[in-house]
């Protein structure tokens, strides 16, 4: 009897624990992980305010300008372009009932990849003529046109400088809107562009990677924009070729390479040799630093498997 009771009691005891323990934690999501010592150190340093300001590091200065040119080619069979669902305004958006194809990856007969963007991510002083060639300074605030016709953004990948105003144009007899889902420091916007008219967009700050532009009235329409503070970038043409003039020489530089279907390009063949670009990062440092007036050629081949099917 006694034994029986103790047995019951111990069960009760364990059950009580189980209930207490199970009923305890109430959390949703992943609570932050904090190292109190590190936080205290950081807070102390942050509190130092202007006194703790870092002294400008005397960085290397460019010794001239070079040119980077080359091309992006696909190795293998490109995936077939998908037909888009055009469920509205077919008379304008599908002239002659022609199918409209997606533009994620466009490869020409020779394997040239269109709309690969290569851009310099090394920080550079925006006004310093040693870094920014005068020919770029002259077009610092030049307008860039971004047109649409037959419900297609005519520039699928638009790279521009944060100081350049974009003229959003509509060459269709129907209204469109340009919904700009900016990233980073670039300002977003969503502009209604009536038939045959224009609107203006100024990004004001740069984006770390390309972002979407879409039209909500015609949801199949899509384009990408990349905003940079510096002018050192290029988008490949239909044959996959590109050229960036006046790239600062004599200093280490870092570039990023991005394409809509592959996103950041990681493994490629550069001038015939296999190369890894971690997170799409291509560096010119040490012996690869550009020399003044050099013409650097980048012939890049990308395996078809790198692209989304």
């Amino acid at each position: 009897m006694n034994c029986h009771l103790t047995h019951r009691l111990s069960l009760l005891l364990i059950a009580t624990f189980a209930i207490c323990a199970a009923g305890c934690p109430r959390s949703s999501g992943t609570a932050v992980l904090i190292d109190q010592g590190e936080v205290a150190d950081l807070r102390k340093s942050l509190g130092e305010g202007a006194a703790g300001k870092a002294e400008a590091v005397a960085a290397a200065e460019p010794t001239g300008f070079a040119t980077i040119k080359g091309s992006f080619k696909l190795d293998g069979t490109p995936p077939a372009r998908k037909a888009l669902t055009v469920n509205k305004d077919q008379d304008i958006c599908m002239p002659g009932g022609r199918e409209v194809l997606g533009e994620e990856l466009i490869v020409d007969a020779n394997g040239g990849i269109k709309d690969v963007v290569i851009y310099c991510i090394t920080k550079m002083p925006p006004e310093d003529p040693k870094w920014i060639h005068p020919s770029y300074a002259a077009i610092k605030e030049a307008e860039v046109e971004f047109d649409q016709k037959n419900c297609v953004f005519l520039t699928h990948m638009l790279a521009f400088r944060s100081t350049q105003p974009i003229v959003l144009k509509n060459s269709d007899p129907k209204g469109h809107n340009a919904n700009i889902a900016a990233k980073g420091k670039a300002l977003g916007g969503n502009f209604l562009i009536p038939a045959g008219s224009t609107s203006r967009y100024v990004a004001g700050g740069e984006s770390p990677e390309p972002f979407d532009v879409s039209c909500n009235i015609h949801p199949w329409m899509s384009a990408k924009m990349l905003v940079r503070d510096n002018p050192i970038f290029a988008v490949t043409k239909a044959d996959g070729s590109f050229e960036i003039k006046h790239v600062p020489a004599g200093v280490p530089l870092e570039f990023k390479v991005w394409q809509e279907s592959s996103k950041f390009m990681q493994s490629v063949k550069l001038n015939g040799k296999a190369a890894k670009w971690p997170k799409g990062k291509l560096s010119f440092k040490d012996k690869d630093i550009l020399k003044p007036d050099e013409q650097r050629t980048l012939e890049v081949t990308v395996d078809a498997a790198s692209f989304a099917k």
Binding site: C3, L9, S10, T16, L33, D35, L42, G175, F191, K263
Partner: protein, 471 residues
């Protein structure tokens, strides 16, 4: 933790006691256990939660196969805690290039932060948790306990985007825009009016919402930096003495550095690290100041509806309409007619989304920005499941407003409707329209306001009843 230790001890006790069979001791142990268990229960300190969905977006963009490491995430959390404190003790960073006090008032923040209660003078504490957190969440992620029952979902503040405001798309809202939402609520949603709170309390809540938005956006920027690796992201993590030692050894051709050399090297890089962190925070705060600057410029002034109606009267009068015909009712009808034409025209293009009968059925497949940034415009079920596992609420399509109901989320004043047409609605497909002249926008507003009272179709007019026949 405490209860688990006691549990182990009592199992031990169980073994020892079996021999003596002293059940009184069991009862004592039971009481002790329950009280130990309960004392450990209480509610744990509130903690911010990580923006896992956005972190996942960044790590996917960066093609991190295994995702960010625990260390990377902890680095972000540490820096955020150092900048902004905790839910119980909010803090603000001192920034060299931005006056933080112009954006946030720390004394008001403290009224809203912490546990619900009051201080010795009777002033309230923990207002955010009392009034907001059950829907908007401790972190302002729009994912409080009740969130999943609501349609639309509560706002996730962490992108810094708010729909109903006086500033254009791309700009942060003004303090007063957020205050209006707290005071009046959002008709047609679960957001109630908090008009019964004192002004001081409402002010505190608005400050706290801004605080959570700024903290959340800073977190996103850090993940963005980690993902896109656009700048040196070393700034997030503390310098690792082992790595520093190795670098120094390499520089000295294999000679091991002394501890002092290592410490000096770490101290030397620290200011750059702090500078980088502050740079990110400054970027976020600056956006809130930019909005204020923009809206104080004369160009931001809006003509009133009265001005528009006066202009219409003058125009009609000049065109030879008889003066006695130009009553207010006549002018309003004329304005509504013009608005109707614009509504179905190609410049305003309202009908293409709001539908040919303005029932809000012209465009049904879109997602709002908060959802679309995670799962794209045309998500697969796998993608939806993936992000839901990271805390995204079940996605719903965003619908253009049904204009026949007369319920306007951003406020029912004509000025509110004017702003929706002129500036668009942040984070949604509703675009800004700078092509319409101010008077034209007022015509559209007048027409939209008449829609709940306008017949959708023109059925046969009821034939007047013939009384004689019935009698």
């Amino acid at each position: 933790m405490g209860s688990r230790i006691t549990a182990a001890a009592s199992v031990q006790m169980d073994e020892n006691m079996r021999v003596s069979g002293n059940w009184r001791l069991y009862l004592a142990a039971l009481v002790a256990a329950v009280s130990a268990g309960l004392s450990g229960c209480g509610s744990p300190d509130a903690r911010f939660v990580e923006n896992r969905a956005f972190a996942h977006l960044s790590e996917t963009a960066a093609k991190y196969e295994k995702g960010f490491t625990r260390q990377q995430r902890q680095d972000v959390d540490n820096v955020l805690a150092a900048l902004y404190g905790t839910p119980d003790a909010p803090a603000l960073p001192a920034l060299a290039n931005v006056d933080v006090s112009k954006v946030l008032d720390i004394s008001k923040l403290k009224l809203a932060a912490g546990r619900v209660g009051s201080d010795s003078t009777g002033r309230p504490r923990g207002l955010y948790r009392e009034h907001c957190a059950h829907c908007h969440g401790i972190t302002g992620d729009g994912n409080g306990p009740t969130a999943s029952f609501l349609n639309p979902y509560p706002r996730d503040y962490r992108a810094g985007l708010f729909k109903f405001k006086s500033t254009p798309i791309g700009y942060r809202p003004l303090h007063d825009d957020l205050k209006k939402i707290v005071v009046e609520g959002i008709p047609g949603t679960a957001m109630p009016s908090f008009r019964l709170l004192s002004d001081q309390e409402i002010e505190a809540l608005v400050e706290y919402v801004k605080y959570l938005a700024i903290r959340g956006e800073t977190e996103r920027q850090f993940y963005n930096a980690l993902g896109a690796d656009i700048t040196e992201t070393d700034f997030l993590s503390k310098a690792n003495p082992e790595v520093v030692a190795k670098e120094l050894a390499e520089a000295k051709e294999g000679k091991a550095p002394t501890q002092k050399e290592i410490d000096d090297k770490i101290a030397e890089t620290n200011p750059q690290r702090i500078e980088a962190i502050k740079g990110y925070a400054e970027g976020v705060f600056t956006k809130w100041l930019d909005a204020v600057d923009l809206m104080t410029q004369p160009a931001a002034k809006i003509t009133s509806r009265n001005d528009a109606m006066r202009a219409l009267r003058e125009e009609l009068s000049a065109a030879g309409t008889e003066e006695k015909k130009l009553t207010d009712a006549f002018l309003l009808a004329e304005s509504q007619q013009r608005g109707r034409k614009l509504f179905y025209g190609t410049v305003a293009n309202c009908f293409s989304c709001h539908g040919p009968t303005a029932l809000g059925d012209g465009q049904l497949g879109d997602y709002d920005r908060w959802t679309e940034e995670l799962i794209t415009k045309k998500p697969t079920q796998e993608l939806i499941d993936e992000y839901m596992s990271y805390g995204m609420p079940e996605p719903r399509n965003i619908r253009p407003r049904n204009l026949r109901l007369g319920v306007y989320r951003g406020g029912m004043r004509p000025l509110d409707l004017y702003r929706r047409v002129r500036n668009g609605i942040e984070g949604t497909p509703m675009p800004a329209n700078d092509k319409l002249k101010p008077e034209e926008i007022w015509h559209v507003v007048n027409y939209v306001q008449s829609l709940p009272y306008e017949q959708i179709s023109n059925p046969y007019e009821a034939v007047p009843e013939n009384r004689r026949e019935r009698n």
